[in-house]
Structure formats: C-alpha cells, structure tokens
C-alpha cells in the first residue's frame, strides 16, 4: 500500500486487523504529525469491548448462529484479525490525541488551531465532576439503581438544581473521566444522563476501575453491587489491556 507524504495525518478507529496495523505504520512514516481522532483510535472505543472475548469466541458467535447454517469464517483475501483490539498509540507513536465519542467540535477546532500556531495542545487533566455544577452532599441518598430508572430533576432548571447522579444511585463515570466534552457543562449530564466515560481516563495510564471504586465508596455506595462493572467502567477504553478475556465464573 502506498500513501502520499503529508504534514498531518488523522486516524480514526482502533486497530483490529493486520491490514490496519500495517496501514498505521505506513501512515506514521509518511506524515509529520499523526493525530488520533475519536475514542476508538485513542483508547479502543466501543469495539474494544470485544477484548472481553477471545478471537475464536467472536468468530464462533458470528459464524454459527441458531438461525443460520454453520459456515467457516472466510479466509481468502481477508486480512487476519489481531488477537485483540489495539488503540493506535499501542502500535505507533501518536502526536496528538483528540478523544470523544463523538469528539466535540470545539475540541477539534482548538486542537487544529493550536497545531497551526505551532503550540503544544492537550486536554487539561480535570475530571468531568470538576466541571459539573450539580448539588453534592457527599452521601448517597439511596442504593444503586439500574440505569433505566430516570433521574430526579426539574427540567425547567439547570444542573445547579439537580442532585449528583451518583448520589441519586444512578451510576455516572464522571469522577474517573476527563472533562472537555463541552466548554461549560458535561454533555451527557446536561441531558440528565449519566456520563459513560468517552473522553477516557483523566491522566495517561490512570485506571478508571480503581478511581470509580473509590468515588463510589466515598459517597457510601457499594461498588460490588454494580452490574457488569468491568465492561461499564472501561466502556470506551478497552485497548491498552484494560479489558481482557476473563476466566469464566463458576455458577
């Protein structure tokens, strides 16, 4: 595969196949500044939830269903799958990371402008909670609820009149997620939905699993009650070995 030389290259999407790995390497050689755009490229994103299952498990599920005839996975002219989904920066060096699912337009503009002016740019190491104006009383008023239960809020008033979602028992990943999805207040919480962590960990290498356990315990919730917590706390960041195949629980 041949690519033209360029000053700036943008990659969206994680690395799943040998072909993509090869493409990422070629692109690294041909461009001066490599940007990863979106959570898939930065951390693995939603497709990296597949890292919870082995490659064989994936192929078996997709190619032998109850309602279709069993077939073998195609092999002719198809690039082989890698063992798991990788974030782009696990394969090649990345100069600029713009996370988000989807990335906020303001953040893209900010990053590109900084690039044109020759300045360094990265998102500040602040959590979504630092930016969120809800009422916090440091003590959850109820036990954890399931996510379909609506939050208690007054639609006529802003976030400053709503109780923190975690304290309402609706699990929100704000404490372990980087701020920046909106210049003023977090986008999902503004729509009265809990944050799901698409901007990734607050610092490079931080583990939201640990941060969330601490945050929940500190308001008096039991993190062990969280359904499916491995996948939930690492929803968008399954690359970087955050999600792996776990041994099956005995029932």
């Amino acid at each position: 595969m041949d690519l033209p030389e360029a000053d700036v290259g943008i990659i969206s999407g994680g690395v799943r196949t040998e072909e993509m790995k090869e493409l990422a390497k070629i692109m690294r050689d041909k461009v001066k500044i490599l940007i990863t755009l979106g959570s898939c490229a930065c951390f693995g994103g939603i497709p990296a939830l597949a890292n919870l299952s082995s490659k064989e498990d994936l192929l078996n599920t997709v190619y032998s269903t109850k309602t279709t005839d069993k077939t073998d996975p195609p092999s002719v002219e198809i690039p082989p799958l890698l063992d798991r989904v990788y974030a782009v920066d696990e394969i090649v060096k990345v100069d600029l990371k713009i996370p988000g699912c989807p990335p906020a337009p303001g953040v893209i503009a900010e990053a590109i402008t900084a690039l044109l002016e020759g300045k360094e740019w990265s998102l500040p190491e602040r959590s979504v909670c630092d930016q969120c104006g809800v009422i916090r009383e440091k003590k959850a008023k109820v036990a954890l609820k399931r996510a379909y239960e609506p939050a208690d809020f007054d639609p006529a008033q802003g976030l400053e009149a709503m109780r923190c979602l975690n304290e309402q028992g609706i699990l929100c990943l704000g404490p372990a997620t980087k701020a920046g999805c909106d210049p003023k207040e977090p986008r999902c919480v503004k729509a009265r939905m809990p944050c799901r962590g698409c901007f990734g960990p607050i610092r490079e290498g931080a583990k939201p699993m640990v941060d969330m356990m601490n945050a929940l315990t500190s308001v008096g919730l039991n993190p062990r009650e969280v359904e499916d917590r491995m996948a939930l706390f690492n929803r968008y960041i399954g690359g970087h070995n955050n999600l792996r195949v776990l041994p099956q629980k005995k029932r």
Binding site: L52, L59, A147, Y148, E227, L232
Partner: protein, 105 residues
Amino acid sequence: MKMGKKLILSPVSRIEGHVQINLDLDDGGNVAECRTQVVNLRGFERFCLGRPVEEMPRITTSICGVCPTSHHMASAKVNDVIFGGRTNVRGKKVERAHGGNTLCH
C-alpha cells in the same frame, strides 16, 4: 489456472465499516468472478451479550456512523417493551423527528 487482471475496489465508501469488492477478470477483460468482502469483524453480536440491556442504546449506536439513530431507537424501543415504558405524545413526535432527520442526512 491462468490469471487475468484483478480489480480491487477498497474501501467502498458511503457505507460504514470495511468492505472491499474484488473482481477477477479473464484474458478477454470480462468479469470471471466477483466477491464482496467484509474485511473486518468487530463482534457486536458477541460483546452485546452479557451487558445490561439499558446500556444498549449507547453501545449499539457505534455499529454504524451513518445510521446510529436507527440503532439507538431500536434498542430504546426494546427497553420500553422490557421495562414497560410508554412514550407520551410529545416523546413520539421527538422520536419521529429524530428518525426523519436520519433519512435526510
């Protein structure tokens, strides 16, 4: 077997995902064989299993960048059925406007 020319259309744009079309041409330049191939496997079929159903509206939207709305609405409606939620008239109108919006873009 004597191989003629090979044409590869990759990537096929205006669809979300990774598809390529391979055409094998014979010596006369006619199409001898044609294959449409999906060159990536993400495995939504597998990793949606075991996740709470109310998380689906925000997982399945990533299936496709052209029609995330359809996937969102489908999973939201499934949740309505499972948990016995009912959409009021205004909600229904928002749903329709949202769906129509997808058709436009």
